[in-house]
Symmetry: C2
Subunit: 220 residues, 2 copies
Amino acid sequence: MEEPTLIRVIIVEDNPYIREGWTTILDADKEIVVKSVFRSCEDALESKDVAWCDILLLDIQLPGMLGTDGVEKFLEINPALSIIMISVLEDSEHVFKALRSGAIGYFVKKVSPEELVKAVKVAYGGGSPMSPIIARKVIDSMQKLPKAKKEYTLSDREQEILTLLGDGKSYSAIADQIYLSVDGVSYHIRNIYRKLQVKSKAEAVAKGITNGLIKIDRGE
Amino acid sequence: MEEPTLIRVIIVEDNPYIREGWTTILDADKEIVVKSVFRSCEDALESKDVAWCDILLLDIQLPGMLGTDGVEKFLEINPALSIIMISVLEDSEHVFKALRSGAIGYFVKKVSPEELVKAVKVAYGGGSPMSPIIARKVIDSMQKLPKAKKEYTLSDREQEILTLLGDGKSYSAIADQIYLSVDGVSYHIRNIYRKLQVKSKAEAVAKGITNGLIKIDRGE
DNA sequence: TACATTACTACCCATTCATGTAGTTACATT
DNA sequence: AATGTAACTACATGAATGGGTAGTAATGTA
């Protein structure tokens, strides 16, 4: 019987040499045990081991379902699974697709045995194993999006009202909610329009969201 | 005269012990030279060294301007500067503020000498040095945002019109632009409202943007 | 062929919006 | 004490909006 502290790993990789190489490397570590090995997402998804294991090493270029597409399916079965992509592909497109789908780490196949073992342990410990180059791609993408925002300066009251406009509220609904006359609301909205250089609710909301002026609740 | 291949580092940190410790550690490496050391962003920003160096190690909790606020100022002076935050603070808020402002790496102060040296070299090599735990926070935030989008299926015509609504166009302006009667536009907008479960332009635009239905041009 | 759906046109109407003008009150600056 | 400004209230008005109803041509489906 194995110790309960062993890190249980599944490998999905079509190349038999790499597959066996990884298995050997990981099994050699006394904290890690490779539970199952598959050559496609389809095979792995049929297995019951997915629900029991901790870490999944997943290739992207596989016969049948691509690894990036498999990520979500594996997580549906076992949301606690930590998926590390290990692929020859290193371009931003694949990296982001994988990470946005729910993978928590990404390595290139030329990974060294030490790195592989470390990656599994890091993932098990709640971290994201990835090369600094991959990390940089992620950081760069974070920095790009919120870039083009002009600095509009709205008062607290104006932001509050703009947010309510984003919820589709009418002047009178806003007036009720913030205890103000309809004309008071109108007063602020005029000022918002002037500052944002717009002339309708829809335009104001659009600029408000794209410039981070409105705190969005994706809750509903 | 120094070799041109030396990695030039600036340190901004108010604690003199840490400051000197880092300097000693980094200077001991033969590829790295610490060019200047400051105890506040203000001091560093006055210096001309910022424009010449490669790496900036920046604390967050400083007297005067916070490191997270300083990031943008340093990058204005030298956009090629790679800024690594090294702070006692590890919460998501500070991590994201720093990284979104333009920092490319983040470490906690208990960083080991080896890690510090490695971080500087990784940053110089175009990577993002950060602990796996920090990386995980970043990945988690990536996965959260585009998550809650329900799949609303709008026709091409509806998307087209919704995008125009986002520009603040009126029914008649849209009608003119896409060669349709005002009532035709009204027809589509009603359907958009039904599908998105909203009842005003502002609300439709808000949902359109947050759910990726509107292609935003931040150009203007 | 009968029936349903889609993409409109067309008309109506109460409500809401955008905007102009004209006060009032409170507070800070000079 | 005078001036200015921010945050409102109040009134007015034409234009735009949202929603209901009805009809048509084109397309697809049973």
